[in-house]
Symmetry: C2
Subunit: 204 residues, 2 copies
């Protein structure tokens, strides 16, 4: 198969990584309406919200997997990518490093902290209104989207140590499980297989 | 909105382009089973089928549209991107130019023939078996996919003339119509909005 025109990403076996736990990190808001109200308030102060989501890849059984956070300790918790809101003036790369360190780095072991690398932006989603819906384009007649969310590939080092807040699960989910499964993972995460499909994964 | 990190594609108004017709170009096969049988036969002679599909973009009413072929002259005809099978040893770029010229260029007006440019490969799909299903990855336990289909962006010139075979419609379909509409457009075409979302469209 000719991959010579496809950009290559090195990915490593899940077993290369060590997973520990750290103190719980709770959400700022207790409900979706509360979250949307805070977002609206911030929008009128700071303008369009910019956010970043991080795609961390590993392989297992010869197939690429994405590392996902699952909120809560049961099968019903919803899935999210590590990432979050950029501060006003903060670059996307700086925000990615800050968010990944806060969420996933071991807190008391500076020498084991991953040196996060920022790869390609592979998809961009817009929130047209103060609602939960996102679209992979600016819908017609929307001149001022309320949020722009960018998904970046974060190439992982060969080995590193993660520490996951106790109120989250951190799971390696195969691409074939995400594909066409917007019911379980939502439209953004379930289309990761498509937006990564032009990469050649070098499974090391 | 900061687009400085997003690659930009210039797209032009649909009205910039002229659409004419030319002789019908019929499919080689009369049915899906016949097509799959011919594919299987070729596979054992030539190995994995390589194919290319072309994403031609325009804008209308301030929103990006994709140019799609619709087979047959009624509302039920299925949609396809211009493109097709690469010959053994043929490069993808050469195949794209050959297929676009055959399908869409005016036959008797060499000076009006578009000089096709080949842009980025934005998604790659695999057909694991001699069946109609494609996936945006090689499914586990499939060591020899039967086809690899690559979708390329073809940046259009500012103006050009198309000639469409009489048995096809050629339609500009907005991204918002394709999105989440796999029922009508199939999984490959309906995920074009996602795989294009990291581009900034410069609507000229």
């Amino acid at each position: 198969m000719s991959h010579f025109l496809m950009p290559t990403i090195d990915i490593y076996n899940l077993e290369n990584y060590t997973f520990g736990t750290k103190d719980a990190q709770h959400e700022k808001d207790k409900s979706v309406p509360e979250r949307l109200a805070r977002m609206k308030d911030k929008y009128f102060k700071e303008g369009m919200r910019r956010s970043v989501d991080c795609i961390l890849l590993v392989h297992q059984h010869g197939h690429p997997h994405i590392l996902l956070l699952q909120i809560g300790n049961n099968q019903k918790g919803f899935f999210k990518l590590p990432g979050g809101r950029c501060r006003p003036g903060e670059s996307e790369a700086d925000c990615i490093k800050r968010k990944l360190t806060k969420r996933l780095a071991p807190p008391n072991a500076k020498e084991y902290q991953p040196d996060w690398e920022v790869g390609e932006c592979v998809s961009v989603w817009y929130r047209p209104n103060f609602e939960t819906l996102f679209y992979p384009y600016t819908p017609p007649h929307i001149t001022k989207p309320k949020e722009c969310k960018k998904l970046y590939v974060i190439p992982l080092p060969e080995k590193c140590m993660f520490a996951v807040p106790r109120n989250f699960h951190f799971l390696a989910v195969p691409l074939f499980e995400l594909y066409d499964n917007s019911k379980r993972y939502g439209p953004i995460i379930s289309s990761i297989p498509q937006v990564l499909s032009h990469f050649n994964f070098n499974q090391l």
